[in-house]
């Protein structure tokens, strides 16, 4: 059972205090968008064996959404960060590069 640190309150939370929210950094496409963009927005998801970025909510705690960078294979957590961002913080990307050289995920690497 995962242990993730909520970046808002600093609490180390076990998985049962959190609710998962799927993939992070998905861009919303609304009215006027193409069928392809809208399909990708609603349905297309990464399924990596390795580095992944996902959303979690500290639902039983401060109620805040945050992002987690972790390895889907080893469950190593590279870091958690606030959800109000369009890309992972540089320090987390650097940490991943140190541990998983050559990684890439969608547009990030």
């Amino acid at each position: 059972m995962l242990l993730l640190e909520c970046p808002y309150c600093g609490a180390k939370c076990e998985e049962t205090e959190l609710s998962p929210g799927g993939e992070a950094h998905i861009k919303r496409y609304g009215p006027g968008s193409s069928d392809e963009d809208f399909e990708a927005y609603l349905f297309m998801r990464e399924n990596p064996k390795g580095v992944h970025f996902e959303r979690w909510r500290h639902v039983y705690g401060c109620g805040k959404w945050f992002h987690a960078a972790r390895c889907t294979q080893s469950l190593e957590v590279f870091g958690t960060y606030a959800a109000q961002t369009f890309e992972p913080p540089q320090e987390i990307k650097d940490k991943i590069s140190g541990k998983r050289p050559g990684w890439s995920w969608r547009d990030f690497s």
Binding site: M1, L2, L3, E14, G21, R28, Y29, G30, P31, G32, S33, D35, F38, L42, R55, R57, V59, G63, K64, W65, C71, S74, L75, E76, V77, A83, Q84, K99
Partner: protein, 1003 residues
Amino acid sequence: MSMRLKTGGRLLNRASQVEFNFNGKRLFGHEGDTLASALLANDQMLVGRSFKYHRPRGIVASGAEEPNALMNMGEGAKFEPNQRATTTELFEGLIVGSQNHWPSLEYDIGAVNGLFARFLSAGFYYKMFIHPRPFWKHIYEPFIRQSAGLGKAPTEKDADTYEHLYAFYDVVVIGGGVAGLQAARTAAASGASVLVMEQTAHWGGRAIVDGGEIGGQSTEDFVNDSLEKLAAMDNVTLKTRMMGAGVYDHGYLLGYERVSDHAPKATGPRHRLWRIRAGQIITATGAIERPLSFAGNDIPGVMLASALRDYVVNWGVAVGDRTVIVTNNDDAYRTAIALKQAGLDVPVILDARANGAGSLADTARDLGIRVENGKALAKVKGGKRVTGVAICAQAGSGGVLEEIACDAVAMSGGWSPVVHLYSHCGGKLNWDDQVVMFRPDLNRRPTDQNGEGFVTPVGSANGELALSAVLADATVRAKEAVNALGHKAPSTGVPEANEHGENAVEAVWLMPQGAGDKLRMKTWLDFQNDVKVSDVQLAAREGYESVEHTKRYTTLGMATDQGKLSNINGLATLADALNADIPNVGTTTFRPPYTPISMGAIAGAARDEVFQPLRQTPMQGWHDENGADYEPVGHWRRAYCYRRGAETRAQAVEREILQTRKSLGLLDASTLGKLVVKGPDAGKFLDMMYTNMMSNLAVGKCRYGLMCSENGFLIDDGVVARIDEDTWLCHTTTGGADRIHAHMEEWLQTEWWDWKVYVANMTEQFAQVAVVGPNARKLLEKLGGMDVSKEALGFMQWADGTLGGFKARVYRISFSGELSYEIAVPANEGRAFWDTLLKAGAEFDIMPYGTEALHVMRAEKGFIMIGDETDGTVIPQDLNMQWAISKKKEDFLGKRAQERSHMVSSDRWKLVGLETLDGSVLPDGSYAVAPGTNANGQRNTQGRVTSTYYSPTLGRGIAMGLVHNGPDRMGEVIEFNKVDGSLVKAKIVDQVFYDAEGAKQNV
């Protein structure tokens, strides 16, 4: 015969006699006995029957690895099957019975299966029952179900209680033997918090029985000294009767504490499941001795050598008068020596190794024990107990050299480290040919959230069998573990141990090495599931190469002991049959729990009244007292109706509806969601949340709104009230309050985080009551305090004020079609307000009504219900609710999705009313049939019923449904299927059955 010796038994309190009952017989043991030792003390060698052939089986082991001695334990509400006699502490009044036999343990009809053993070989079930197919259901399955399964299922509710405990430690040491205690001392010296758990009631593990000296002390003194030192430390917790059940991700560990299994009359929980987070886990779980594979190795009286030694030393129990020892390693000599020292006869030690043992052999010879090197057992003789053995050369095919009478056989095929807990979370193993075992690969330990290893096996669990090596390993590894946590272990030396020089173990997977078919068919690998050497060899011949497949084909290692004794022997047998190396055949996966844990422990406290939370409104007490017939709505229980006297539910619902429509009804609507949305951007935000416009709602007014997901589908509805310039109150459905609150927070936090909006879930702050019916206004006027006239408070308006002294917010909204007020008062005053309304409403024959009356009345009005008319695939347009979808707004959640081609298609099922021609009530969920069949040969459909009720107001059935192009087909008659296969005709009509012009609610 097995018996209690006059002396010995370090764990016994001989002064205390304990009475127990086995298969109806009254037997006696002592305090300190396990059930297994007490049974043996009473010469109860036969303890069960095997799974497939119902062969007589005796106790093989002395601990958690025992495959045979599984008992039905207790009676009635305390009954539990499959309890291990070896891990059950004896207590006064214990009642047990053996399993898997009929009519009795001694005379079992199922044993006839043994005569057909030739036909019950590996894969028997697959081969036998595959044809003819109809036989499976009517003949094979009932037969197998009747004869399958060990033990009986309990028939009564468990009388015991259980609980959980969340605990956090820097270091958890699993196993209280010398390795665990030494590791704990080392770790604790660093200041780290340490939990040490031992699955039995006693500390010290095997070392005390095995002997030796540590730092000039006996192993027993070393253990006691260590415990004393650890107990004195504040940062150390010591727990016996607690098993490490499973190791999971990120340092999560389950500790299974058997609090009162040994004292069942004590107050308190029976088991406590510790849900532990550990920084580092040290598995000092020891090793398990392997059986040897020779013919007749399952006959009662054949036992692991270490177990025989345990019974003599720990419990003063001799399994037999004359015990033949057979081994491939030096350790079994300790058993010979222990038995001899206890005054028992050891006719011979058969050592399969040509060179025999080291200094222990000299000790044995000095005691007058005959030692034969290079020798093996050709077979064990006996039925329900051992009567003798036939000796042969290990190198040959089993030519008998000599027969020796004996009543017990002690076997040792070497030792396997208990790597289960190390492996649960991904720890990898290597095969070590030198010591003939799988041992942990410390470079491939399970890793935690930081990517670092967090499980450290030490001592015998790490493949170290010699006492000095065990202590050194425990010390070094424990230091590494605490250092990894940032603690500093002080540099302490490793205590010196003195020990015998031992010769290397030799791999012996079949005895004798060239045993023929006849012997192999009597040579057991898995005692509980009846898998023999010949079965594994057959599987190999039939093409099975993977151990995982072979395991399933033969059922090797799939019994309740999960192959603790059989897996390595089975694997080696398979490797040999495939002419492959053991590492190339691989291992099976170790999964939690280590041994079965109780269902009660897993559930913990969650049963009966705390099985799950039941949410209650402030008026629940009144509902309870007034015949409420509840239905679950989310975690709430809402009154479906209030039955009076002998009324049926239907009669109650009819009474409630008629009286409400005629005069006055009262509904507890407290469960409705109430979300306050406030801020400069709240209007903009609600315009995104709802399909219709909310930003232009006037202060003091209410508006009904729809919410969709980004997929376009309806997710919730409700009335929104504008409270002030930047505050709105959004009502949600009962089940939707938490979900829609979370939905709003998600969009605010993760998409529009720069918008200035706050949301608060105020659902439970208010008790809300709907006062409904033509006399509703009269009642409120009687209470007094605020103007509720049509002029002051028109339809779809709200106002704050007081009513009968209660501060209240009053909404003029209606879900019934009647004149209706929904009144919110502070929850703590809800019950008093409800009582006040009832009292004041008596003159109008006020009628509290339940959710069914609510449903029927809304259906009579053609109002949709989320969850009835919607199912996650319905868009507002399907419900003809275009009027609630803003055309002015550029964007709202679901807008883009509703523009997809399938959503805008004219070819959709849409909402209509349905009236049966015969006035009957359409079956719920019924489908409208259409001509022809689809590609699967199923009848075509053209619609389905979404809501259907008997309308007391109209005196006939009414329904709503989604029908293909329904609104264009008014007046058409279509047919719906019924449960009995017949059809019922219904006319497509407008969905509003009652007061279509809305005259009654707008007064």
